[in-house]
Amino acid sequence: MSDVIDRPILGEQVAAQSRLRIIDCDVHPSIHAHADIEQFMPKGWQEHLRTYGSHLRTPYIGTTPYPRSSPLIARRDAWPPTGGPPGSDLDFMRKQHLDPLDIEYGILQVLDLFIFSQQNLEFGAAIQRAINDWQLAFWSDREPRLKASILAGQDDTEFAIAEIERCAKIGRYVQINVCPRANEPLGRRRYWPIYARAQELGLPLGIHVGGYGGHAPTGSGWPSYYVEEHQSNAHTMAAQLKSLVLEGVPERFPNLKIVFIEGGFGWIPSATWRMDRHFEAFRSEVPHLKRRPSEYVKEHFWFTTQPIDEPDEAKHLRSLIEWVGVDRLLFSSDYPHWDFDDPRYAFKTPLTETERRKIFNGNARALYKL
């Protein structure tokens, strides 16, 4: 048996691991009670929320995301003793996550209220705005380690720009998040005004998996099982990477930085190899691309690590990290969700000290200017 299995967590082991402080690029805070969010919404939308709730683009009744694998897709040990859903109690988050893992910064990713999936775009805009305010008031103001993202659903581009402007004036957000499953693939020109604004503001564009844009999550329709659907996060991210690159977004916005969050990174080598191979054959179809697709990927895109791929042999994970590029990876835990990655144990392959510093801290520090 491996010695990992019956070795207790020793004090000195934890201390040695945590000398490198960690920037966690995917932490999920939750709304403790609806009243918390309502204070940031006009009365009319508060009533709308109570009367109509979410109007989602899913095809069947009850096809909301929960529960999946476990209630609220959460770790079973993440329910705060004070009540409320996992991720809703700041003190408990400090005690269970930020303090013991020595998190220097955590980038907040809010999924509550199916922010990006609302069919009613005005209502969607109202909750995006409310949640942007709530992130500061309930999290960043109370805990300087936690950094907020501007949520701006791109299907209402005009609103998205207005919301980005409003939040950028406040100046405390580190990223602009758009929907991974929008009405059209993310490279389409209708969304470019958002990318232009992100570039001007110098804020990375964050794309976190999930959401329902009204399309089936796989190219062949709706899956039967959660284990099947969970794989589709990677397919969706691969499709969006190809759309952004091949439509020319990095070519048109050379200073735009794009972060793919919670899509893992195992699929990236094959996606870029294929793009490069086909680019050689079909470059006359996409003459707006001046360079090989992989070059755009290497310069404009970053990828958070969770859910980390776990091949049977550690050396294969090692190759994967090298193929994607140590400079492209940002550690993320996905706390408090069920497929959480613990920074001490998730990388089942040795990394050099330089590599660890980049993946667990340096890359994110530079990208988010922390």
Binding site: S2, I5, D341
Partner: protein
């Protein structure tokens, strides 16, 4: 093997568990269907506390569309990533050759047996109301 008397049987309710610090390790004892099982309180994958695991049944299927439950409550489902382990021996169901939780023999003995020794002193009537859980490490 050292024997550690850790609890009264009544301290761990049926279907529940309790964690004990034994020789610098956290050992979790489960009480399932009248039996007690002791395992290291740490998932071998990423270290999640198994005391928070779900106690589930073994679900098998001889073919798609046919499902069978057995050994209700005897399988642990890790609180984070859902890896399943057999409470009896710590064996993992998905990769038993490589991944296992350390398990410990458990004995349940009455208070009467435990206090028996070679020395005889003035005796008082003792009323034994409970049994004790002993872990061997």
């Amino acid at each position: 093997m050292a024997r550690h008397i850790v609890a009264r049987t009544s301290d761990i309710p049926p279907g529940g568990n309790k964690v004990f610090g034994v020789e610098g390790r956290d050992i979790v004892v489960f009480h399932v269907n009248g039996e007690f099982f002791a395992l290291l309180n740490r998932c071998p994958h990423e270290g999640a506390p198994l005391a928070k695991a779900a106690c589930v049944a073994r679900l098998t299927s001889p073919e798609p569309g046919v499902y069978q439950r057995s050994r209700v409550g005897e399988l642990l489902r890790c609180p984070w990533h859902g890896w399943e382990f057999d409470m009896r021996n710590g064996q993992s169901w998905f990769d038993p050759q490589r991944v296992k939780v350390r398990s410990y023999p458990v004995a349940v003995e009455s208070g009467g047996e435990l206090q028996k020794g070679p020395y005889v002193a003035e005796t008082f009537p003792v009323h034994v109301e409970d049994s004790y859980v002993i872990i061997e490490t």
